[in-house]
Symmetry: C2
Subunit: 399 residues, 2 copies
C-alpha cells in the first residue's frame, strides 16, 4: 500500500499536487478533494466506481473495462474515503465493501469538475495565406528513426495543415515508410501508393500533365482521406509548380466578403462522383462544412469530379454563383502558397483543410514523378499522443 | 449526328421517353423539355453548360471535368435549341457559338426539376429484432466469381445491416478475398486481417475467451469502420454463441420507452479510448448519433473502451442512467439475434448500425478461430452501383 495504484490506461501521470483532504457530499454520491495547490475537485461516486482499476473492474493486461455498466450498482455511495500512505485516494463503497484506490495524478488529470482535458495534444490550427511563403520545413534525413524530428514535423503539420521534409532521398516507396511512422495508411481504389506522373490511359486528370486547380482529394467518399503525403522522386520537367491554399483562410476570406455566398457554400449539397469503369463512388456535401458552433470542419473542393447538381430548382443559379466565389478565392494569389518540388522533398497535406493544385508542366522538357499515399488525422493525433507519452515516461525515468 | 452523344460518366442510359419539344424561358436562362410520357422538365442554362460533354468541357478519356467553374460564362443563355435526328437535345449558347449535344436518357435520369436520383442503389434499411431468427443467408460457394450471388448477398447486407454466406470453405485469408470483392479494405492497427481467438498477451478483450457484450468496433476513431466481415475457420469450442442487435431497432425501442434517456444518448458526448502501448486513439461521441432530421446515423456502443466521461458536472449521473438504459436494451433478448458460427460461415456486419457480441466460450473444450477484416459502406454502395450498371449494360446489349 505504499506504492501508487495503477491507472486505467498505459500512460504515466505526474502528481502536480497532493491531496490535502477528502470529504463526501450528497449522501456519498459526490466526493470532494482539496489539493495542495488550492484546487478543489468534485467526482461522482458512479464515475469513480466506473473508472476504478480494481481487478473486478478492469483487465490490467489489456487495460480494458470488464464490468458492464449494467452490472454496476445503480446508485453507489462512498461510505469511507481517505488518503493513504502513498498519497492515493482510497474509497470504500456501498453496496460492496471493497476498497478501491485511485492514483492522485490520474485524478488531477481527469478532473472534469474543472474541465480538465487529459493529455490532449493541444494543437491549435493556425490559418495562413500567401504571406506564408513556404511550408514549415524540417530535415527529413533521419525521419524514419528520430522521434524528436518526427514530433516537430507532425506538430507543425497539425498546426498549419501542411509541413515539408527535405532530404528524405529518392527511393521509391519512401512515402509509405514515412506515412507508416504515424500508423496504418488508408488504401483506396488508386492503390496503397499512387504514382503522380503522366500515364497512358489515365484514371484521373492527376495522371496527366494538365494543370490542376486547387482541390481536395477523394471527396467522392463519405469520409475523404484526412492526410495526404506527396514525395518527389524526379522533377526535371518545366512547370508543375505546387499551389496550396489554406481552407480555413479561404472560408474566412469568403465569409468576410460575401456572406450570402458563404451561407450557400455551407448549406447547398453538391455531389461528387468519380468516373470510372469499375467503381462508382458518390457523396453529396456542402463545399464548406461547419459544426454546430459554426467552425469549419472540412472543405470539399472538386473542380473535376463535380457531379450534376441536384438541389432546389430555384437555388441552382445562386448555388453556381457561390461556387464561383469559392473557386475564385482559391485562385486568388493572396491566398496561395507556391513552391516547386525538389527530389527528396516530402510534403504532408491535411486533405480536409488544405487545397492542393499544380501548374501544368511540359512532359517533353523532362520527367516529373511524385509518389503519394493517404492516412488519417486520427493516426496523426494518436502518434502525437504517444510521442508525448514517451517523453513523459523518459522525463520521469530521468528524475 | 445520327448517334446519341456520350454522357459525362461511364454509365449507360436507357431512353425511357422521347423529347417532344424544347422551349426556352427567362431569356434563355431556363430550358423546358416536354417528354413523350407527359413529363415536363426544366434545366438551367448554367447547369447544362457545366455538364456538357463538349471536348472543351470534359476529358472523355477520364470523364472528368476540365473546365473550371471560374472559366464558365457567368450568365450563359440558350440562343437556340432543337431535337436532332438522333433524338438528342442540341443547344447553341451565348456567349459562345458552339453547339452542345445532350443524351436524352441522361437528361431524363438527371432531371432535378422533378427530383430525379440517377441510379441510386435504392436500398432501404429494414429494422429487425429477435423475430429475425438468423441473418439473411446465401450460398457462398461461388462468391469470388459469381456477380449475381454477390449482388444478392450485398443487397440483403445493405438492407438488414447483417448477412451471412455459408460454404465459403475454411482457407485462411478467405475473409480478405471476399471483402476485396467490394473494394479496398480498411487496415487498422489490428492489421489487415485480425485473428479472433485466444491469444497470449491479448491486445484486446476480443482475443480472450471472455464474453463480449454487444458492441461496435473501433469507436475510438473519428470514423469507425463501416463494415466488418467475420469468417469462421474452426469452432470446436463449447459456447461462443454470436449475439447481434440491430441499432436501428434499439434506438426506436429506447426512444419509445424512455424519451429522456434517448435525449441524453443522442447528445451527451462519451469518450472512447483504446488502451495500448503504441497507439492512443480517442474520440468523443454520443451513443446514438442523429442527423438534422432526427434519423439515426450511427451507434457507438463501447462497453470496454469507455474512457472517463468529461461532460457538464450536473449531467454525469443522468448520463450514466441513460447509458444503463441503452446497455440494458442491448442485453434484452427481445432485440437479440443469436446463432452459432459453423466453419465456412462468413458474416458481414454493418459496424455503425449493428452491435455484435458473443457468449464466453470454454477454450479447454476445443478451438474457436475467426478471421476478421474491415471495409467501408462506400465500397458496398460503389459495388452495388457497378453491379447494377453491368446488368444495365448486359440487358441493353442483349436487346
Amino acid at each position: 500500500m505504499t506504492r501508487l495504484p495503477p491507472t486505467p490506461d498505459f500512460d504515466t501521470y505526474a502528481v502536480p499536487a497532493d491531496i490535502r483532504s477528502v470529504t463526501t457530499e450528497k449522501d456519498g454520491r459526490v466526493l470532494r478533494l482539496a489539493w495542495s495547490d488550492g484546487r478543489s475537485s468534485r467526482f461522482h461516486a458512479i464515475w469513480l466506481r466506473d473508472n476504478s482499476c480494481d481487478p473486478g473492474n478492469l483487465n490490467l493486461e489489456t487495460r480494458e473495462t470488464t464490468v458492464n455498466v449494467t452490472a454496476l450498482p445503480t446508485d453507489p455511495r462512498v461510505v469511507e474515503a481517505h488518503i493513504d500512505a502513498a498519497g492515493a485516494l482510497a474509497v470504500r463503497w456501498s453496496p460492496g465493501a471493497s476498497l478501491h484506490r485511485f492514483h492522485p495524478g490520474w485524478l488531477y488529470a481527469h478532473d472534469y469538475s474543472n474541465g480538465a482535458q487529459p493529455h490532449d495534444p493541444g494543437v491549435v490550427p493556425v490559418a495562413w495565406d500567401a504571406t506564408l511563403a513556404e511550408p514549415p520545413t524540417f530535415d527529413g534525413a533521419d525521419i524514419l528513426t528520430d522521434d524528436t524530428a518526427l514530433e516537430a514535423w507532425l506538430k507543425a503539420f497539425a498546426t498549419y495543415g501542411i509541413a515539408r521534409l527535405t532530404g528524405v532521398g529518392v527511393e521509391p516507396g519512401t512515402v509509405a515508410r514515412v506515412a507508416a511512422r504515424l500508423g496504418p495508411m488508408r488504401v483506396t481504389n488508386f492503390g496503397r501508393i499512387f504514382e503522380v506522373r503522366v500515364q497512358a490511359g489515365p484514371g484521373s486528370n492527376a495522371y496527366t500533365a494538365l494543370a490542376l486547380p486547387p482541390h481536395t482529394d477523394l471527396s467522392t467518399r463519405k469520409y475523404q482521406p484526412g492526410l495526404q503525403f506527396l514525395h518527389c522522386l524526379v522533377n526535371d520537367s518545366a512547370g508543375g509548380e505546387a499551389i496550396m491554399v489554406d481552407g480555413l483562410a479561404l472560408a474566412r476570406f469568403v465569409a468576410a466578403r460575401d456572406p450570402e455566398a458563404y451561407a450557400l457554400l455551407t448549406t447547398v449539397r453538391w455531389q461528387s462522383s468519380n468516373r470510372a469503369l469499375d467503381t462508382d463512388y458518390r457523396w453529396d456535401h456542402p463545399v464548406i462544412r461547419l459544426d454546430d458552433a459554426g467552425e469549419v470542419v472540412e472543405l470539399r473542393v472538386v473542380p473535376f469530379l463535380r457531379a450534376p447538381l441536384a438541389t432546389d430548382f430555384d437555388q441552382v443559379e445562386r448555388a453556381y454563383a457561390s461556387l464561383r466565389v469559392a473557386y475564385e478565392a482559391a485562385a486568388n494569389p493572396a491566398l496561395q502558397m507556391r513552391f516547386s518540388y525538389r527530389p527528396g522533398d516530402l510534403v504532408a497535406i491535411d486533405n480536409r483543410r488544405v487545397l492542393h493544385g499544380r501548374e501544368a508542366h511540359d512532359p517533353d522538357s523532362g520527367e516529373r514523378w511524385l509518389q503519394g499515399c493517404y492516412s488519417e488525422r486520427e493516426e496523426l493525433l494518436s502518434r502525437l499522443r504517444i510521442l508525448a507519452r514517451q517523453r513523459r515516461g523518459t522525463e520521469r525515468a530521468g528524475r
